[in-house]
Symmetry: C2
Subunit: 250 residues, 2 copies
């Protein structure tokens, strides 16, 4: 939600002769494309060649009007009366998301959470490769985790030269996160995924996304609190349906 993209995005759009006619997608749409992509992969593995907006929307957990509007921003890849070609749509979304090239990820902070992220299958299986693990703790440097040797954070510039780092992941304690972010920026990294519970300040051309696990619990806590206060009111609120899903993403 909170998104302060300033500068950068400015000119482009319908600029004549723009190098790649890059679609100017709404942020909300971008955040949903990965979900559509996952649903499409599932459907494709299930043997479907085409899928209606209704069917894909159900698989992705959104309503069909939203899905059609989202996809319409990519261009017309559906066939009226039939639906979308699964393989073609996968290709289009992967192109837009830049997943046609494998992106190198560098993970800083090999503590509790970092350790788990280093071994998380979901990254590799969806086009991301963790190419370096870094930590400031000398006791951790040299440790082998899921096939990678942990290196000292001071080697970040060297790592950045060896590999073209597309994304830096920060899984350090909050106190260290800003310093790590600064080093990543200096090393030329322009996309950061921050798991530390703090606000990072970075130059305007750097994108930061934040995942704070405790915040997610607190939001659920609010809804628990609200529901508890509602059940004190008349009317048994059981209800049926597909449920209240809220996906994370800005």
């Amino acid at each position: 939600m909170s998104q302060q993209r300033h500068g950068s995005t400015s000119g482009n759009g319908a600029r004549a002769g723009a190098v790649s006619a890059f679609p100017d997608l709404p942020e909300a749409t971008i955040a949903r494309l990965p979900e559509y992509l996952r649903a499409l992969h599932n459907l494709g593995e299930g043997g479907a060649d085409t899928i209606s907006s209704e069917g894909l929307a159900a698989a992705a957990g959104v309503n069909s009007a939203k899905l059609r509007k989202d996809l319409s921003h990519l261009g017309s890849y559906g066939t009226r009366g039939v639906g979308y070609d699964v393989a073609l749509l996968i290709e289009q979304i992967e192109y837009v998301l830049g997943l046609d090239q494998r992106r190198a990820v560098c993970l800083v902070g090999v503590g509790n959470l970092g350790h788990a992220l280093a071994g998380y299958d979901g990254f590799a299986s969806r086009g991301f490769k963790i190419v370096a693990l870094l930590d400031a703790d000398p006791a951790k440097v040299g440790e082998r985790i899921h096939g990678l040797i942990v290196r000292h954070i001071d080697e970040l510039p060297a790592v950045a030269v060896e590999e073209t780092i597309a994304i830096g992941v920060i899984a350090t304690p909050a106190g260290a996160a800003q310093a790590v972010a600064d080093e990543l920026v200096t090393a030329g990294v322009t996309s950061i995924l921050n798991f530390a519970p703090c606000v990072l300040s970075v130059p305007a051309n750097v994108d930061v996304r934040k995942v704070d696990l405790a915040i997610e619990l607190q939001i659920l806590s609010f809804h628990e609190h609200r529901k508890a206060s509602l059940t004190a009111l008349p009317g048994g609120r059981s209800a049926t349906g597909a449920g209240n899903q809220e996906a994370v993403g800005s």
Copy 2:
């Protein structure tokens, strides 16, 4: 973002004599309250008694108008000319989020990620206590992780009786997630945090939030892709400022 809250929220608001005059907060505001709370705790530890909207906004990474509007929904807890009383505001936000009561969390799936979540400090330090670890794999049952013994998923109903589970966390592979969700719902859990990359279907009175780590990377990948296509255009886009932060949350 995608939020299909239906039913439940319906009547309340200004209803005369409602049991708890529960504030009808915008979803976007709720998602930011935890961030304000974290910033307030930091400021409080730093010795501040009061803080201006400008100062708190900076600490939370939002602009001050948004912050004031958000807080105004809670009521008037600021003093014009002075700012907000840090301790009072903490108390108010914690009350609204339902954090004045410690909430029990049950974690299902003690694999790579679940293991890390079980030991994540950020939960305990912010009012959540993991009271049970469950897994379907007999090889994992009995294992001791961060002071808790892993129990078999079939014991979920028993666990739910022993402890009042406020929130269930699913950290299983995608294939198992729906079955686990069904069991949580049957056991009476009405809030679920889902780390499995799949859509869950649950009754309308159950809230689900989803965190998909790969999706976060894919969104960053999009922005990398976009930036790469923009640098092919004229104009060195360095710029300065506080950066492009996008926090996760619906």
